[in-house]
């Protein structure tokens, strides 16, 4: 039994289906192997169980959550539970009427992703003509007085546009601008050679973002997320494993992060078979990297262990082959050389490769 931890946020991945095909998609890269999406009643029960556990924030995401016909109903039921409900969308399959309905049912805020401020580039990165529809969606959000977050996943090909992203966010009167460098896992790791910016890019972009943050304080929140490859210490991934977040994926698998099930040897349970409270407290997968007992050297004696919790488990697995090792993003980690060599490769690549790995099948999230 583990009553020490309270989840605050439920990330409900309603579907892996998506009209976009971004080369840094955060969904698992073996989507063809995924099965049936869980149904409306199951989601409603999951929301109730999450609220009873202490959850107050709900992110409805995917894939593209607008592809679920029951989204209006899910929003209504989430609001009835007094959950702060945020829709995370590409904005593509949206109409003004649908956004109005979602607002009326109690949607609290909307986050729309954008790939580039240049229409042609944006459409190429997204793999579909989406740019103008995204702009429409942003305007609709503002006109409905729905708090708007503009989300940009930064990488080598769009990081030079950072001033334009800020200008666009101001133009559409966004409440929040996330300038988040790609997390190099899943598809982004496969495409890392084409995506990872150089140290100079990052340094400049961070400065521009910091200026905007100061200038816009109180009007728009500007968040800049540096890629792990250029930080001294790792991120506190998910604010610690099984500490504040629950992800439920489209098949109903409950996870500490959206890629946790790509780590072999961990066992996770489905919300169709277990109560969320039981999973949260008893799941061996949730408990595996919780707290400090599991920490490897040098993390176990490090002063930062309560800040970053040893970093990202998926990164340790995908780069080092063992999820129980320190996140190699940390300069103190024995495996840090793999980060250094990826960084050196980014520094050497002069021109931007234009070939992204193309995918077929279900399609992937823009996030």
């Amino acid at each position: 039994m583990n009553n020490k931890y309270r989840p605050y946020t439920l990330i409900a991945e309603l579907t892996y289906r998506c009209p976009l095909h971004c080369p840094y998609c955060s969904n698992p890269s073996d989507l063809a192997e995924y099965g049936k999406e869980i149904d409306t009643d199951t989601w409603i029960r999951v929301f109730q169980e999450a609220e009873e556990l202490g959850v107050i924030q709900l992110n409805l995401t995917g894939g593209e959550p607008l592809l679920r016909d029951d989204l209006e109903l899910l929003v209504e039921r989430a609001r009835r539970l007094d959950l702060y409900t945020n829709l995370i969308t590409s904005g593509v399959p949206l109409t003004f009427e649908r956004l109005t309905r979602l607002r009326e049912r109690g949607l609290d805020s909307v986050q729309i992703s954008i790939q580039s401020t240049r229409g042609a580039v944006s459409d190429r990165l997204a793999g579909t003509p989406a740019f103008n529809r995204k702009l429409d969606a942003m305007r609709w959000a503002t006109s409905l007085r729905l708090p708007l977050t503009l989300n940009v996943v930064l990488h080598r090909e769009n990081i030079a546009e950072i001033e334009e992203f800020i200008a666009l966010a101001e133009h559409v009167a966004a409440d929040r601008l996330e300038l988040a460098n790609t997390q190099y896992l899943g598809w982004a790791l496969k495409n890392r050679h084409a995506l990872l910016p150089t140290r100079e890019h990052i340094k400049w972009a961070r400065t521009v973002a910091a200026e905007a943050k100061t200038r816009l304080r109180g009007r728009m929140e500007v968040v800049f997320v540096t890629p792990d490859y250029y930080t001294e210490y790792p991120k506190s991934c998910m604010e610690g494993w099984g500490r504040r977040f629950i992800v439920v994926n489209p098949e109903g698998l409950a996870l500490p992060c959206h890629l946790a099930h790509t780590i072999p040897g961990l066992q996770f349970e489905r919300v169709t078979q277990h109560r969320l409270a039981d999973i949260w407290r008893r799941s061996s997968g949730f408990n595996r990297f919780r707290g400090e007992e599991w920490l490897p050297d040098p993390c176990r004696t490090c002063d930062r262990r309560a800040i970053d919790f040893g970093g990202c488990r998926c990164q340790a697995f995908h780069l080092m082959g063992d999820a129980g090792l320190p996140d190699p993003a940390c300069t103190l980690a024995p495996g840090h050389h793999v980060i250094e060599s990826a960084r050196a490769q980014a520094g050497r690549s002069v021109s931007i490769p234009v070939l992204f790995e193309h995918r077929t099948g279900l399609g992937h999230s823009s996030r």
Binding site: I56, Y84, P147, R219
Partner: protein, 93 residues
Amino acid sequence: MNYATVRPRLSEKVRLRFDRRTDRYLLLYPETGLELNETATAIVRLCTGEWTIDEIVDHLIRSYGDVSRGEISRAVREFLAILADRGLLQGAA
């Protein structure tokens, strides 16, 4: 912020919610929230756009008679600055 004329009002992205786990109120906004103590909750409840900052201080003095005006005024000012910094007050930038 001008104490006599500014009438603080919470921005639309903010929702106040009682948390039965901690017996406190939470001020929720996208991605996160603030856990409020009793004084902060009282201040937030007065950020309706009706009351000036001076009037909010007056209200609180009536409920917390044993605390000096200076102290309450400072607490209100500091807390409103926290809200404004996070964009949680309308037109406060």
